[in-house]
Structure formats: C-alpha cells, structure tokens
C-alpha cells in the first residue's frame, strides 16, 4: 500500500506505508491478559492492569474492562486508543438502538456490530482483541479478533498471557461452578499470567454481570 505525500513544492512522491502492521499488531497485543467465563446466570470478566511500551511499564493502573451498557462490558487488549474508540462507538450505537427500536441492543447485537466495524476496516485494522460479555435474556460471551471474526464461548482468554490463562481455565472451568469459585478461577488465571508473562501484571480487575443490570466491579490485589 502507498500514500501520496507532498515533498518539495508542488511535487508529490509515493511513499510506502510500512508493511509491518501485522507485526505491530503482534507487538501491541503482547502486553495483556484478559479472561471471560460464563457461570450460571453470570458472566465474569477479568484482566490485569499493566500497560507496556516495549520494555517500559507505561502504566500500572489501566482499566482493561470497559463498560459498554448497563448490561455489558468488554475487555480490551491491543492498542488502547483503538479499543477506546470502538467502545465509544458501541456506547453511542447501543443508546441509539434503544431509542429507535424501543428495546435494548442484545449482547449478540453488540458483538455483531463490533465484528462488522472491525471487518469493514480489515485492510487498516483496529489493533484489538476483544472479549464481549453481558446479559440479555441469559449470560453471553463472545471473542473478537482484529479482522472481525466472532465466536461465542463459555470461557475464553486473550492477550500475551492467554496461553498461561488458558491452562488455568482448561483445568478448572466447568459449568457448575458457583459464582465465587468462578471469580477466583478467573483471578487465578490472570494471576498465573502475571507470574509468567512479563507484560502482564499489577493487580486484577474483575467485572461480574448478571440478570437485571447486575454489574459489579472488584479489584483483586496481586500478592506474590
């Protein structure tokens, strides 16, 4: 891909855009662990709080679980600016949907809309990997990648620490967990990632979403 930039007066030169956007994507997504799981009537989302820029820890207090509506939230990994822009779009679209349709946009609707936005920017993508969790008629959980693929899950993980987190989820997750057990497993998955992934760290945020706009935010401090 090339773009045209003015160099000398009146003279335009075609310069190549760096073809390493995929590498950039790989780098950006390095630097987070987030998980989501469904248990009973609830969705549990958890994420670490570290932001990195290369080897620098850019922040120790990032909120990686952002509220979209009263009944849904998403975890973000990748470029924070891209994820925030997407979250802003979804917040406005869901409000607009409520006004024009007279009913809430379902969690599937939110995830599908996000997937459409991501796919429409496939050749200049938002560098994000997202978990969308929420409750409409029952708890829902979706994972989206930067090109707009969408899958419905019962438990999932994203980010550089996701292999570690998956290890914990695979061995501990089952559908008959209690909510408290689910929260501690989600926290444990992040905690394990913090211990083995240098780009993940500095505490654990947890969000629990359930029936009737139940929305609880917790912070679990990290202890060695």
């Amino acid at each position: 891909m090339t773009i045209s930039l003015p160099s000398k007066a009146g003279e335009h030169k075609l310069i190549p855009i760096p073809a390493d956007r995929d590498n950039l994507a790989a780098k950006a997504i390095h630097g987070t662990t987030t998980v989501g799981l469904i248990v009973g009537d609830y969705v549990v989302l958890a994420a670490d709080k570290r932001a990195t820029a290369g080897t620098l820890i850019a922040s120790r207090r990032v909120k990686k679980i952002v509220k979209l509506t009263d009944y849904s939230a998403m975890t973000i990994s990748g470029l924070v600016a891209d994820a925030q822009a997407l979250a802003d779009i979804i917040r406005e679209e869901s409000r607009f949907y409520l006004l024009t349709h007279g009913r809430k946009l379902s969690v599937k609707g939110i995830a599908t809309l996000l997937a459409n936005i991501l796919f429409s920017s496939k050749y200049f993508p938002y560098i994000v990997q997202l978990i969308v969790g929420g409750y409409d008629t029952k708890p829902r959980l979706y994972t989206l990648d930067l090109y707009g693929s969408i899958t419905e899950e019962t438990y999932t993980a994203t980010g550089s620490g996701s292999p570690v987190a998956y290890g914990v989820l695979e061995s501990h997750y089952h559908e008959n967990l209690t909510l408290d057990e689910a929260v501690s497993i989600a926290a444990k998955a992040i905690r394990s990632a913090i211990l083995r992934d240098s780009a993940t760290g500095d505490g654990i945020d947890v969000v629990i979403i359930g029936p009737e706009n139940y929305f609880e935010e917790r912070f679990v401090p990290f202890k060695q």
Partner: protein, 256 residues
C-alpha cells in the same frame, strides 16, 4: 372525487400547504389507496392473519399470478392496497431494511422497526420537491423477536399505527364494520381466519356488483391469506386448498 371546488395552485406541488393546512397531493394519494382492492389484518395473542382480495377484472387475466401478500422476512409479512407498483418498491425496501438489520446486528428486526423505516420513506415523499407521494398503504404483520404479535399500518402520509385489526382499500369501511363488531382479543387461529374471510367477503360484496349467493362458491379463488403464529413464528402463505376449506366452513355465515 368529492373534494368540493377544484383546488387551484395548491395541488401542483407536494410540498405546498393549502391555507387549510392540507397537502393536496398527499390527500390524493389517500384516494389512490381507497381505489385499491381490499386488504386487511387481524391479530390476537397467538397469531397474526393478513388477508387480501383479488378481482378477475377480465377473464384473460391470470389471477393466480397476482400476489398481494408478500414475505418481508421469516417473521414478517405485508399486504398492500392502492398502487401496486408503488407497493412493490416499498416492499423491496422493507426486505432490505430487514436483511440489513440481520447483517448489522445478527438478529431479526422487529415489525415496528421495519414498518417505521418504510413510513420514514413515505414521509420523505411528502416533503421533498419533484416527487409524488406513494399511493399505497401497507399492512405489516408478524411476530417480534420477543414473541409478541404485531400488526402495523402505514399510510401515504408516512404515519404508522399498531392495530388489533385493520382494513385498507375500497372496502375499508365495510370490512372495518365487521371487524369492529366481531373482533375480540381472545380469538384463536381459526377464529381469526374466519373473521378475516367474513370481513373481506363483506367488503367485496359492498364494493362490487356481485351477489353473495353466487360469489360465495368461488370466493376462495379471490382470496390470498398469510399467517404467522406465536407457536411457529414463521410467516406462511395459506395454500389454495386450505383457503377453500375455511371459506366452505364460513360459507353459511357469509351469505347471511
């Protein structure tokens, strides 16, 4: 047309109000609907019925090929009265609206949403210069994703209202009389179909030269009927055989 003295300058453009606050072109569009073959819709808690009549205006016309009830989406059907060509364009738009909603949100559109989108188009054609209003009313019937029955009429002015039962076209007045008298919210599926046929038959008799005794035997050839139930929320056209069976069942009441 009984509009009194012929309007002068005010019916030359859609966008100019008369001193009485009327848009004459829009009024005329309502007249176009009043000239159309009768269509009607009825709903209860468990089902929605849409019915329409067709007329053999010449024996050379292939009546079977004429459709007055169309599928908009799996869960929405529509009937029209007025200018069929205008109706066809709007129904295509309705199908687009429904399918776009599916694409964008991954879920079915509500009947209200589709009806409103079409009413929005109709409104635009009462306000912009160089266009004429759509000479057609539409009846959307269907089941919303939440599972409740819906029946919505849009008129040429771009208004839309939800109804329990509604009729449009040349027999509007007569069909509505029957519906107002006999409708109740607890009607079951059979009750809805029979009431639809009765109202349609009455409208037909009152707006044509035909005699009820001779019409009743062939009425099923002139009826199109679509339905959807809460139990099985997929909009279907009723087969000719089924329509004939229902017409037979109510034939005694039709000729009363």
């Amino acid at each position: 047309m009984a509009l009194g003295a012929p309007p002068t300058a005010y019916d030359r453009a859609t966008t100019i109000f008369s001193p009485e606050g009327d848009l004459y072109q829009v009024k005329y569009a309502f007249e176009a609907v009043r000239k159309g073959w009768t269509s009607l819709g009825i709903r209860s808690k468990e089902a929605v019925i849409i019915a329409a009549e067709k007329r053999q205006i010449t024996r050379l016309l292939d009546l079977e090929s004429i459709e007055k009830i169309y599928l908009v989406d799996d869960h929405i059907g529509v009937a029209f009265a007025g200018m069929g060509s205008d109706g066809r364009i709007l129904i295509d738009q309705a199908r687009l609206v429904a399918v776009r909603h599916r694409l964008l949100y991954g879920e079915k559109a509500s009947v209200d949403y589709v009806a409103r989108a079409i009413a929005d188009i109709k409104q635009a054609y009462t306000q912009h210069a160089g266009v004429r209003p759509f000479g057609v009313s539409l009846i959307f019937g269907g089941i919303n994703p939440e599972g409740d029955t819906r029946l919505i009429k849009t008129d040429p002015g771009g208004q839309f209202f939800s109804y329990y039962a509604v009729a449009i076209g040349m027999g509007e007045r007569y069909a509505t009389e029957v519906l107002e008298k006999e409708y109740n919210k607890e009607l079951d599926f059979e009750g809805l179909v029979k009431l639809a046929l009765k109202a349609l038959f009455k409208a037909r008799i009152e707006t044509s030269e035909e005699q009820s005794a001779s019409l009743v035997g062939e009425f099923h050839n002139f009826v199109e009927l679509g339905y959807i139930t809460v139990e099985k929320p997929v909009f279907r056209k009723m087969s000719a055989d089924e329509i004939r069976r229902y017409v037979n069942e109510v034939s005694g009441e039709l000729t009363k």
